[in-house]
Amino acid sequence: MDESSLTDEALVEKIKQGNIDLFEEIVARYQRKLVNYIYRMISDYDSAMELCQEVFIKVFNSLDKYNPEYKFTTWIHRISSNATIDWMRKKKLDTYSIEGNDDDSPGLRAQLEAKVLSPLQDLEMSQLQGRIEQAIGELPFIYRQLIILRHLNELSYDEIATAVDLPLGTVKNRIFRGREILKSKLAEDMSRQGGSKRG
């Protein structure tokens, strides 16, 4: 049977029965999302890879505790979110901080996937993306986490609420506020850019 046609929950059931090869399919399905989430939370490529591996091993070790009543995607994001918070606390990174990180680091640039664009488009696109990346990095932790889960990992509000263990209303409020902060940061940045060009 083709494992790619199985749902996450069905895969987990088969893995629990001893078919551990199928865990490869789980990793293949979630590695991109989790790496992107963790990297954007901690802004360190090597640590993100390491932490993401740890998350998958935790997931494998904890499959027996997985309750199929909940969606697997929510559960795996919850483990990932908790591991990221633990890592940030261990590294004494302030999870309340509004300090941002320089996302134009060579580590990130080197890992970005190439797109087929003209040189000018490429430059404009890369400038805009760089500004957005930077603005996300500057968001306070509580908004950054939810914005990434909602807009980059494409989780529903309900799934996010379960993953981060917050009431649905709080999640929606924070995402709304996070978006507003992000927009105002980008607008500020653009007006500054415009001003400096005119000047």
Binding site: K65, Y96, L152, G169, T170
Partner: protein, 172 residues
């Protein structure tokens, strides 16, 4: 060790801008431009070695869990039994060939012969190591005294470049 806390609710940072009606279920207006801008963000590439590396750890963990103490003891006993059987056959062959009537004496002779063989092997290995060391020392001394400094510097640079190249290749 499984971090059980990973599945439990985590203490969450407080929202500095929280208001009393934070818990209210609000309707968030759609913002297609914003969604589009975020969707266009480039993805962080996952190295090809990521999946095999995770699966290796998974298989290792699974294999470690499957090993049971009685299996280890059984295998050890089987190996020990095999070794004893071979030794008994050897001693019997020695008794037959030398006409030694005493089992204890034959066993003694066998052990002595094995130890002598072992001594010879160790001595041969020691000689081999000593010769290799002398050769390496002589070659290095010849290289240092006879090679111009510039050539040595170029070779050293090539060696360093090779090390960096291999590291970068492995890091890909």
């Amino acid at each position: 060790m499984v971090d059980s806390r990973s599945m439990e609710p985590h203490e969450h940072p407080v929202d500095p801008m929280a208001s009393p009606n934070d818990g209210d279920d609000i309707e968030i207006p759609e913002d297609p431009d914003f969604e589009q801008a975020l969707k266009g963000l480039p993805e962080i590439k996952v190295p090809q070695s990521f999946l095999p590396s995770v699966m290796f750890q998974v298989y290792e963990k699974h294999a470690r869990e499957k090993i049971v103490l009685w299996q280890v003891v059984l295998i050890a006993l089987l190996l020990l039994g095999g070794a004893c059987a071979f030794l008994a056959l050897d001693v019997a062959a020695l008794m037959e060939s030398t006409g030694e009537p005493s089992l204890a004496q034959a066993f003694n002779n066998k052990v002595e012969a094995v130890l002598n063989n072992f001594d010879q092997v160790i001595a041969a290995f020691g000689t081999l190591v000593s010769i290799s060391w002398s050769l390496a020392k002589g070659t290095a001394a010849h290289f240092v005294t006879q090679t111009p400094p510039l050539v040595m510097a170029v070779l050293a640079a090539a060696l360093v470049a090779l090390v960096f190249g291999v590291r970068r290749f492995l890091d890909r």
